[in-house]
């Protein structure tokens, strides 16, 4: 087992699954040139039939992945930046999410659509989206949001082996993070299983994607003050490990949800509603959301970063829940 980055985990997951199963192939814009480093060496290993550069036609090639999947292939589509999913909404929502259902189970669509959450680095509003929650609102799409390199490898391999369509959202704030990457070619993390990233007793922090490392830092900081956070990473948003979330909240009686997406209708909102509906009796305070303000992301580094979840905002939310109001800013988190 060697250490490897989040990007390297993507590369290994794809490589191992392409070696294991010749039905797996990858296509997308500039795959051969390998812009982000997730397909290093692939053309030499697998040839240009299985490593395909596409025209800039997201609706066309994402739709083509559906057709190829229906006839027995297992495509991986690399859409690079998640905002580029929008031109393909027709194929993702009307074809990929619904074909199995509308044809009464006759279709099977084993495909993975990968894209990164490219925020926090002065790329302005059109390139900085975190759109997974939009897709949570559409039945028929599984969604993974790995927060570290090990999870990325295990979840992406599971996604490629899954017989349903899976959207993989890759958080660019995690790209350089490293973890021990298992060598076992059958190492997978089943979709729908969350993980307790840090055990704690006072507050459950359910964090998504790049929110997880921030929550872990907040937990470390608060531990020094005697406040114990339990950090839960659902890892998969669809299906969601509701049992793990509720079990943790029933133990701690307090909950904060952390999500880099815009707050309204976010994963944080959905998880908060779940807790309010199903663990209300266990709660000792409100469920608090630490998400991104409902404005666009500005280009200027002077004003972008403060809009996202941060260690300080999670700490402030925790103080509010454990009664340390004197340390809080007057309003909000």
């Amino acid at each position: 087992m060697a250490r490897g980055s989040y990007i390297e985990a993507i590369r290994q997951a794809q490589m191992e699954e392409m070696q294991r199963d010749e039905r797996v192939f990858i296509m997308g814009e500039d795959i051969v040139c390998n812009v982000f480093g997730t397909t290093t060496g692939f053309t030499e290993m697998f040839g240009k039939e299985r490593v395909r550069d596409t025209p800039i036609s997201e609706n066309g090639f994402i739709g083509a992945s559906a057709g190829a999947a229906m006839v027995g292939m297992r495509p991986i589509v690399d859409v690079t930046i998640s905002s580029f999913l929008y031109p393909a909404m027709d194929q993702i929502m009307s074809i990929i999410a619904k074909s199995r259902y509308i044809y009464g189970g006759q279709a099977r669509l084993p495909l993975v659509i990968r894209s990164c959450l490219f925020y926090g680095n002065s790329n302005a509003a059109q390139h900085s989206d975190r759109p997974y929650s939009m897709f949570m609102n559409m039945p028929g799409l599984k969604i993974i949001v790995p927060s570290d390199a090990r999870d990325m490898k295990g979840l992406l391999k599971a996604a490629i082996r899954d017989d349903d369509p899976v959207l993989c959202f890759e958080d660019s704030t995690c790209w350089s993070s490293k973890a021990d990457l298992p060598d076992d070619p059958d190492f997978i993390i089943p979709l729908g299983e969350g993980e307790v990233k840090r055990e704690g007793t006072d507050i459950s922090v359910i964090a998504v994607a790049g929110g997880v490392p921030i929550a872990l830092k907040a937990a470390q900081k608060l531990a020094a003050e005697g406040i114990s956070l339990e950090v839960i990473d659902p890892r998969t948003l669809v299906p969601l490990d509701r049992a793990m979330i509720l079990k943790s909240v029933r133990k701690t009686g307090r909950a904060i949800t952390v999500d880099p997406a815009h707050q309204t209708c976010s994963a944080a909102s959905e998880i908060s509603a779940l807790i309010a509906e199903q663990a209300f009796d266990a709660l000792r305070g409100p469920v608090l959301r630490v998400a991104t303000a409902d404005t666009h992301l500005p280009f200027s580094p002077a004003i972008e970063k403060a809009l996202y979840p941060s260690v300080d905002r999670i700490v402030a939310a925790a103080y509010r829940l454990v009664g340390a109001e004197h340390r809080l800013p007057a309003q909000g988190i």
């Binding site: 395909r52 036609s57 739709g63 083509a64 229906m70 031109p87 027709d90 009307s94 509308i102 279709a107």
Partner: protein, 331 residues
């Protein structure tokens, strides 16, 4: 034109008659309130569907659109599950989940009859890509209307198929109208087939009322695709006799004598005359007509006798595994 042997000629006639009879019954039971939702009939376009499908092998792929009844029948599907689908029954080809706009029978190579205009085109290109990657000589044929050729999906799908030299046949059933809008009002060139030039793709224009002409054009495109020669765009000029959908409730366009002119060149009448002229006995033709009627009646009886789906079936086939059932539906 070289004519196929008479038995295949009769098969074309049989499939066209099955579509005609199916649609007649579908309209009647829809008018009687037996079919929920909308109904988009294929009557008048029989020769395009049958001519195209008769040029395909059973294991070739096909993708269609919201005007979905004719395509599976043309490709050889059984009628009972199609009719049952119109009634929303569990024995329907889509188990009652799709309805009139989605009569897709995967057992005859269909990969969907999709009701978002143009959306099947990238899917068909992808099936062709799959066939190519698998090293088979299967081809993938996509039916779509004139309206679809103004969608981005049309341009993206055709370009992709062309640059990858995919074994795909794009068959535009130009019936003259996108719902109520005449094609001349929204396409700035007389022939949609000319759009193929933009992709360096061969094209053909055929008389969509002539089943043999459609078959010949598609057969040529299929042969080219199987041999690795890439995709073709075929424009079949045809016509639908009914409104866009039969329950739209008002006449959306003033057709004047237009329908009558097209009925003069009805694809079934034309083909019947050709068969007769080629020596097919009237008895053989009438036997096919009787059988088509009887088959559709049997399909309707099957559909009516079938059950509706169980409520919990609403949670099947979102994914391969059934979804959890919400508490308000658990007894």
């Amino acid at each position: 034109m070289t004519h196929r042997p008479n038995d295949l000629g009769l098969e074309k006639y049989r499939r066209m008659m099955r579509i005609r009879e199916f649609e007649a019954v579908a309209e009647a039971i829809h008018a009687a309130g037996e079919v929920p939702g909308s109904l988009h009939t294929y009557t008048g376009q029989e020769a395009t569907g049958v001519g195209a499908c008769i040029a395909l092998r059973d294991d070739d792929y096909m993708v269609g659109n919201h005007r979905s009844h004719g395509h599976p029948i043309a490709k050889g599907a059984a009628l009972g599950p199609l009719m049952a689908e119109l009634l929303g029954k569990v024995t329907g080809v889509c188990k009652g989940k799709g309805g009139s706009m989605h009569l897709s029978d995967f057992s005859v190579g269909s990969l969907g009859e999709t009701s978002i205009v143009g959306s099947g085109i990238p899917v068909a290109a992808g099936a062709a890509l799959g066939a190519k990657l698998q090293g088979t000589d299967r081809v993938s044929l996509c039916f779509f209307g004139d309206g679809a050729t103004n969608e981005g999906a049309f341009h993206e799908g055709l370009n992709l198929a062309a640059v990858w030299s995919l074994p795909a046949i794009f068959l535009c059933e130009n019936n003259g109208y996108a719902v109520s809008t005449p094609v001349s009002q929204v396409v700035s060139i007389p022939d949609i087939a000319d759009r193929a030039k933009s992709y360096g793709m061969p094209s053909a224009i055929v008389d969509g009322q002539d089943v043999d002409a459609v078959e010949a054009a598609v057969a040529e495109a299929v042969a080219r695709a199987r041999a690795g020669g890439g995709p073709t765009l075929i424009e079949a000029k045809t016509y639908r006799y009914a409104e866009h959908a039969v329950n739209m409730g008002r006449v959306l366009r003033d057709r004047g004598t237009e329908v009558d002119a097209w009925r003069e060149r009805d694809p079934i009448t034309l083909y019947k005359a050709r068969l007769t002229a080629n020596g097919t006995s009237l008895e053989a033709i009438e036997t096919i007509e009787r059988e088509a009627k009887a088959d559709v009646e049997a399909a309707l009886a099957f559909a009516r006798a079938s059950d509706y789906p169980d409520q919990l079936a609403a949670f099947d086939d979102v994914f391969v595994d059934r979804l959890p059932i919400p508490h308000y539906l658990v007894n």
